[in-house]
């Protein structure tokens, strides 16, 4: 155990944000926090260094009920409100962005589209299994040449007399190599017809489907990121998500996931700030704790200020989501801001930790490297700037 983690983590709450949460929301947050402290923190450093997703944690996550926790109880989910769901993401990412990504993908990008666009039969079959992690899902939208512009995708789905045939390649797919099922997005019409984009439920043991890990990642090392190849993958008719239609459908999924990321990155920022504060009090240099120097105090004050602002931001975002008044642009602002401040805070925390800060025993540099991915995925910082720019001015500048 490192100096900085000598006492257990108690979160960050300078503005009494706790008082704005319900008793259940606090209890849920504390439960997930305890789970992370006891199960994830002890193994994450090694998992990251060795580049292995700690899959032994999946049953525990499922038992806790975090997978698709904001979906209804009738499908085997916890039926939580969106603030509680956000707090779960915050606590998971306080541990590691890779674990939060796993949960975001399973819940926001696999369970959510089945819930939103699936038939009743699809929902009844898949959602309870995904909630219990009997099935692991991944989400295939991004392609090697179509990242920020998913509407340009070239993966196709051709209708046959008894079903569908899919062809294409998907990239940067979290959980891809361990998934048992993929939600794959493909065009059923011409290559320039964005309206023909539909979602398909593809068991990964289908003939012609392969998923392989992308190697050499310097970020999200405790998470599987894969490339999916679909070569003449034959699917039955009911593989189609019947209510999906157009680019809007996968973008709705991304709104869900981005919502979770807004909370998650805040958790990573809190972890780094917490580590920096502890270290600044314990580390003695020139005969006094480094926390007694002005330069580190400025660092810490900046971190706390940004965390507090971000906390209030996501809380209101969650209340709007529950009220049904949240727009994708609201989410863009929170995703953009919180990823950005989290990147800055992680880097400053790593610097405050000096040479120790480069060790996996401490958390800040791992978060720092992870957050570069989170800054980039689910709409880069720049793309969210343009979404907001379009919303402000009415001019699309993509």
């Amino acid at each position: 155990m490192s100096v900085a983690s000598a006492a257990s983590y108690a979160g960050v709450d300078f503005y009494q944000v706790d008082s704005l949460l319900t008793e259940e929301e606090r209890a849920i947050r504390d439960t997930v926090r305890t789970w992370v402290e006891e199960n994830l923190i002890p193994v994450i450093g090694d998992a990251y260094v060795t580049g292995k997703f700690p899959k032994q944690l999946i049953p525990g996550l499922a038992e806790l009920g975090v997978l698709g926790a904001n979906l209804p109880e009738e499908y085997g989910c916890a039926g939580l409100g969106n603030v509680a769901y956000g707090l779960i993401m915050q606590e998971l990412e306080r541990g590691d962005s890779g674990i939060r990504s796993f949960a975001s993908v399973q819940g926001g990008l696999v369970m959510y589209p089945i819930y939103a666009f699936g038939s009743e039969e699809q929902k009844k079959y898949w959602l309870p299994r995904l909630a219990k992690a009997e099935e692991i899902g991944c989400f295939g939208l991004t392609e090697p040449d179509f990242g920020s512009n998913p509407g340009g995708m070239i993966t196709t789905a051709r209708e046959t007399k008894d079903g569908w045939v899919l062809n294409g390649t998907k990239m940067w797919i979290t959980n891809g190599s361990q998934a048992t099922v993929a939600v794959v997005w493909a065009k059923t019409g011409a290559v320039d017809d964005q309206k023909s984009i539909r979602g398909f439920i593809v068991p990964t043991n289908s003939k012609g489907f392969t998923g392989k890990d992308q190697k050499g990642k310097l970020s999200l090392r405790a998470s599987d990121t894969s490339e999916l190849h679909l070569e003449d993958v034959h699917l039955p008719k009911d593989a189609l998500l019947p209510k999906s239609g157009g680019l809007k459908s996968p973008l709705m999924c991304l709104t869900q996931a981005r919502y979770g990321i807004s909370w998650g990155t805040l958790g990573a920022a809190m972890a780094c700030y917490d580590e920096a504060v502890r270290y600044s009090k314990n580390r003695v240099m020139f005969g006094k704790p480094i926390g007694a120097t002005q330069i580190q105090q400025v660092r810490l004050a900046d971190m706390l200020t940004e965390i507090t602002k971000a906390q209030l931001l996501v809380l209101q975002l969650g209340r709007m989501k529950d009220a049904g008044t949240m727009t994708p642009q609201h989410v863009s602002l929170a995703k953009r801001n919180n990823c950005n401040i989290a990147c800055d805070i992680a880097r400053e925390a790593r610097r405050l930790l000096g040479a120790n800060g480069i060790l996996a025993e401490y958390h800040s540099m791992r978060h720092m490297a992870n957050l570069e991915s989170v800054y980039t995925y689910e709409g880069t910082h720049d793309m969210h700037s343009l979404i907001l720019g379009q919303d402000i001015t009415g001019f699309g500048a993509f």
Binding site: T31, L64, A78
Partner: protein, 249 residues
């Protein structure tokens, strides 16, 4: 199988203790309160025993102020069926606490009454045993292994350099130690279900008791020690110091 668990709300074990105004108790400002960790073993035991029996009722009883309701809800979220808050001020005298709990539990038809072996705030190790004495029930205290079958209860208690094997007939009082089980985390569904479970509030008042806290202070800071040296060569110096200066070997 009807099982009661007595649960206390205590400061989180990582709390930095600050003596409050009046100098007799801690300053509770900013302190996070949690269920007493030893009581969580008792809660887990109750839930697991009911699950094993396949039928029955589990009840959690707590003495404290309104805030203890949150602690009770934690137990309900773990899986306890209902809660009773004995609303009143605690006492430094464990016997007064035991009397109030015994009055609530008496006649409740419980096969088993469970406690943690002690509370991590006042460190008394007393209330569970005292409740058993008041009710005239067998008490198996500080058990790190527990077995209930066919109307009997067996337990093991760590003693200095050994393990005592205990046996009694039900109904009985058991106080739990670490090792008896691993308390489950409440599931998120459990947390949502807990707010719908019954929680009865009953006002109580405690007697004056025979223990008066006259002060609370922080232990003296240890004098800073010294680094004897670095690496294996320092071992010889250390051994000498332990013998000649510290006189402990």
């Amino acid at each position: 199988m009807k099982i009661a668990v007595c649960l206390k709300r205590v400061p989180d074990t990582t709390t930095k203790i600050v003596v409050g105004a009046g100098g007799k108790s801690i300053d509770e400002a900013g302190v996070k309160f949690v269920p007493n960790p030893y009581d969580e073993y008792a809660v887990e035991a109750a839930i697991a025993l009911k699950e094993k029996a396949g039928a029955g009722e589990t009840v959690v009883v707590s003495l404290g102020g309104d805030a203890a309701q949150e602690t009770i809800r934690t137990a309900l979220a773990m899986g306890i069926d209902r809660g009773v808050l004995l609303k009143g001020d605690g006492s430094a005298d464990g016997l007064e606490v035991a009397r109030v709990l015994a009055a609530e539990l008496n006649g409740g038809g419980y096969d088993l009454i469970l406690f943690g072996k002690m509370a991590v705030d006042d460190y008394h190790h007393a209330v569970g045993v005292m409740v058993g004495e008041i009710l005239g029930l067998p008490v198996l205290s500080s058990v790190s292994a527990l077995r209930v079958e066919g109307g009997t209860v067996g337990g093991e208690r760590e003693i200095e350099g050994g393990v005592e094997v205990l046996a009694a007939a039900l109904p009985a009082v058991v106080t739990t130690d670490k090792g008896v089980n691993t308390p489950r985390l409440p599931s998120l569904k459990g947390i949502m279900a807990a707010k719908k479970k019954p929680l009865e509030v009953k006002p109580v008042s405690l007697g004056a008791g025979t223990m008066v806290v006259t002060g609370l202070s922080l232990p003296p800071e240890r004098q800073a020690g010294r680094i004897v040296g670095e690496g294996p060569d320092a071992a010889a110096v250390l051994a000498q110091l332990l013998r000649t200066e510290a006189k402990v070997i």
